[in-house]
Symmetry: C2
Subunit: 266 residues, 2 copies
Amino acid sequence: MATGSRTVRPRSSVWLSERKTPRRKGDQQPVGLDHLKIVAATMRLLDAEGLAGFSMRRLAAELGVTAMSVYWYVETKDHLLELALDAAMGEIALPIETVRSVEAAGPVEGPEYTPAEPRDWRDQLRQVASEYRRVLVRHPWLAALLGEYLNIGPNAVVFNHAALAVMRNSGLPDDRITSALALVYQFVYGFGTIEGRFAARCRAAGLTQDELYHEMMGTVADRIEFDEARKVMEARGGTTVQEMQDRDFTFALDLAIAGIESLKER
Amino acid sequence: MATGSRTVRPRSSVWLSERKTPRRKGDQQPVGLDHLKIVAATMRLLDAEGLAGFSMRRLAAELGVTAMSVYWYVETKDHLLELALDAAMGEIALPIETVRSVEAAGPVEGPEYTPAEPRDWRDQLRQVASEYRRVLVRHPWLAALLGEYLNIGPNAVVFNHAALAVMRNSGLPDDRITSALALVYQFVYGFGTIEGRFAARCRAAGLTQDELYHEMMGTVADRIEFDEARKVMEARGGTTVQEMQDRDFTFALDLAIAGIESLKER
DNA sequence: ACCTGAACACCGTTCAAGT
DNA sequence: ACCTGAACACCGTTCAAGT
């Protein structure tokens, strides 16, 4: 109230604005940069230093170039991060039959397909969910960007389409589909987020997951309120952190699937 | 690789370090600031301007004080945000019997209790979940902070304890509890996150939720791949955005509960 | 067409100094 | 005990200029 208020930046999406660099005419690459190289370096830097450690100036240094060069290819930092976001979404391997109809509408770059193609909707759901989880963990910055931007890039569109296609095979009535999608993918999002953050924390501290886990349990163990919580933590079984996480993830998905199965005949 | 790499800041939690200001001796407030006032102003600013618009300098201006004064009460910006995070967690109203055992261990400031006290675990779960959702939407910055910090403040501890207490009444075996908790609360987290972001976007643009929704559908409607998606979007019913969101949320919770009910007798 | 350098308006935080 | 001012090392981005 006191000082002049700053309006929240409008932040139009990359996907809703003109490409900044017009498509190259011939094959002759000029010398230095290009879109692909910039996005790749961005992702490498994000993986290594995290979102907070990323800056346009750091990126330029990484590319061996002056701070402002990148701006010839990319309008703003936000747009660049949106490109990285969609590139990460492209790493999610999808069952091929779920993306065919989309691909027919135009070529899509990026997504990998798994060799084994499950037919049952439950297995397809498990595949898409665990692929999404895998990518969230591999790129711990992805979750924050998903919360920040619209996520309407080409790869995101393919992903959403695939998720929808799988859920439509569940037998759930149409008016329940969005709910079921929300339950499953918001769960995976949250789960992958904290799993990825924990993994990043371990890398930063130079500890294994199990080491950091026990250390955290130690600093917190003297709090009386955690007695009951610890009982449950211990009951969940698994000797390593990774095993516990896998069990939790798998069974949570089973719960969701069981819920869908039990409510689909109404 | 090129330039000297910056290590990721260690970032110790507020809750794991000494209080910066020793407790006041008598009643005589000095003149200016104090912890409560600072955190309250922080939350007000975060609500109004968003996380990206918040800075220590803005906060100081809001408090009518120089930029560095706040640092006498708070170690870093991170610590301050952690305090705001836990204060927000304290706004989640919990069924009173779920927090009694925690309160016995020591006084807890903040949490409100609802007058109606549901006995059935499903209703308790619905209450805790929708309260969590409500707070996430009211404070759109909360989700980002939950992803950033450890969330082990006193109010967070009470919340986790309550969530656990409710789930233990579900009849699920102990080794499934953490999974079920993850499914439900990660879902609510994700759902509340995007709902809150959408609401904030509306406020920033000066539009109602329905206006912005239709505008977004418009800019995106010309994409061929969205045909199938739109069919499902329309099927979910509800005339307003709020109704659609409420329906989606309610039924997704029903799915989770049905899954728990159906898997608890194994 | 592509890249640079200087400059602007911001950050979080340190540190010596005031009262 | 509390608050200030100047300073440091950073940001994202603009803009005029180079080739």
